[in-house]
Symmetry: D3
């Protein structure tokens, strides 16, 4: 399958907590992987990112889509 998304991360399920409507899944990622971020050019200029910079990527859990076979 090919996805119209830049980030595909292999992960191992650690726990599943079910709620009434929403549930949370926690996962472990051990293999090194790439990530991509798309943001406004204005933001990228404010951040002054250049190759080699160490930064942090923040992602709300609601935006992470699990896919299983």
């Amino acid at each position: 399958m090919k996805y119209g998304a830049r980030n595909r991360i292999k992960a191992t399920v650690k726990s599943v907590t079910k709620g009434d409507i929403m549930s949370m899944v926690k996962l472990e990622v051990t293999a090194p992987h790439e990530m991509s971020s798309v943001l406004t050019t204005e933001s990228v200029e404010e951040l002054r990112l250049s190759p080699g910079d160490q930064i942090e990527l923040v992602v709300k859990a609601i935006h992470v889509l699990p896919v299983a076979e």
Copy 2:
């Protein structure tokens, strides 16, 4: 700083490609890390996830927020 988000991933910038309005940043993640996903309980039941399962996490690049000091 504390964020109202479950996922914080340390990453190293590899490249920055600037476009007219939006830009793309590619990053490398080498340290093992946790991830969390929130989805409907219905989806979690369809996926039948249990601890130890190997799955894939798909995240659109637009949902990845870079944070730098």
Copy 3:
């Protein structure tokens, strides 16, 4: 009303399930309609999409905004 969004889909409510904080609404869409997707040019090239291709569109329920009069 005019919305800054490409997708407006007429739908009929089938069920409403209320939870403590979040609720889920299920709907039926019977009329043919258009949809638009915005993704990175890199992703579009990987998918090699061309007119006539049959694909699937995946949308998390959290990204669907109901509007009623």
Copy 4:
């Protein structure tokens, strides 16, 4: 494949417009299909949705993920 998302819509590609960083794909959906929306219980109560109601679903194109084989 199983996805942690409630909405999977079969669609036919009509056009692809490539930009510098982002691209837009337009699609046609002809088969009737279901959709699900997750929103706050407060919002659902304000909307007073009940089965049979005709509403509109608004989705930003950026939240539509194409998946192809």
Copy 5:
């Protein structure tokens, strides 16, 4: 119109910058208004939020939907 969204903010357009696929609109908000955030209960506990706390709300521009009559 009623929206299945907690945040509706009155704003005045300051500028519009058009790009090939995406555009950016800048706006001014002068009237005091409410905002709501939904996040995991885990995150809310880590943030230890209580009434009266001064915090910052971060929202990617892509998640802001303009609506005009």
Copy 6:
């Protein structure tokens, strides 16, 4: 800290309602502030936005990220 996001809004917590998996935080925004929206150029043309126009910005609560020190 610098964020790859155009919108940073100072807010005061009014209430916190905890649910099983997700929680809702209500906030008050009193200081005038800017906002930015990114949307397709097609949408911006349909909306015919020009400086001075009064519009409304709709944001789902799930897309609002609280950040605290």
